[in-house]
Amino acid sequence: MTASKEGVDRTTLTQAVMGATTDMFKMFSVCVEGGRQPDGNGILNPGFCAVVRFSRDVSGQVAVTLSPPIAKALAASVYGPEEAASDQRMKEVVAEVANMIAGGIRNNLQAVGMDFDISLPENISPADNKTASQNGGVSLSFRVNNDGCIVDAHLAPVAAA
């Protein structure tokens, strides 16, 4: 793995995203497989998306998209199966998932010499998530409880003034 203030290579970023995402899902006792490049079909029903932005030494963001069944499964693992899966609850779930994945990516990349700040998570419409199409980013698909989750991440060094 290589990273520096000049940037981070794609393999390093992919490993950081994979590690952060699988660690996060372990907390919720769900079955997760991944990650790989999305097969083009994406998530059949991309219900909820949240983004966390990177700043200071780098610019970029991580966006997490969860299908409603995954968001519901994560909520149920914390609140119990009886808990009503309201949209508000699902938004809280995906926001916190994005927060933990962003923190994990930052912690993984700090180990290879990069350091940056992360913002508070923000819920956005899945349709507004354009991260995967940006240069230098990675987009990984995970299977969680046999359903889909996509994590898009990109970061680029901030040019010195």
């Binding site: 660690d23 996060m24 372990k26 907390m27 909520a75 914390v78 609140y79 609850r89 809280e92 779930v93 926001a95 916190e96 927060n99 933990m100 962003a102 923190g103 994990g104 930052r106 912690n107 700090q110 350091d115 992360i118 508070l120």
Partner: protein
């Protein structure tokens, strides 16, 4: 025993409470705060034995809460555990310097929370 759980995410507060329910601290009374100012108000009112606090929150963040809480004289030391995604060594050192007793990085397990609290309790017991 009363534990104050501080996190702006209701989902994460519930995740911490669920984790606590799987530890030896499961019989504790739980109080909650969604941001630092409310946490500080409850801390000042007294009766809090432990605080488990997030770092990144809108309004007063966890570090500012920690700094303000440590200015308050309490009848006994109240351990404060930071439970946060801020997992870098620099952030951990910063929190410990400001008076945090232990540090638990999200994502966590019930065992991580219990271990953090146990180690904070041991540290307290070792103090003269």
């Amino acid at each position: 025993m009363k534990i104050l759980v501080v996190d702006d995410s209701p989902f994460m507060r519930q995740a911490v409470i669920k984790a606590l329910s799987e530890t030896k601290y499961k019989t504790a009374e739980i109080a909650q705060a969604g941001e630092g100012k409310d946490a500080l108000k409850q801390f000042k009112a007294g009766g809090i034995d432990w605080v488990l606090c997030d770092w990144n929150m809108p309004g007063m963040n966890g570090l500012d809460f920690l700094i303000e809480a440590r200015k308050i004289k309490t009848p006994k030391h109240v351990p404060i555990l930071m439970v946060t995604t801020e997992g870098t060594m620099a952030k951990m050192e910063q929190a410990l310097e400001q008076g945090a007793d232990r540090y638990v990085v999200k994502p966590f397990t019930a065992a991580d929370i219990e271990r953090g609290m146990d180690l904070a309790a041991l540290k307290m017991a070792a103090k003269p």
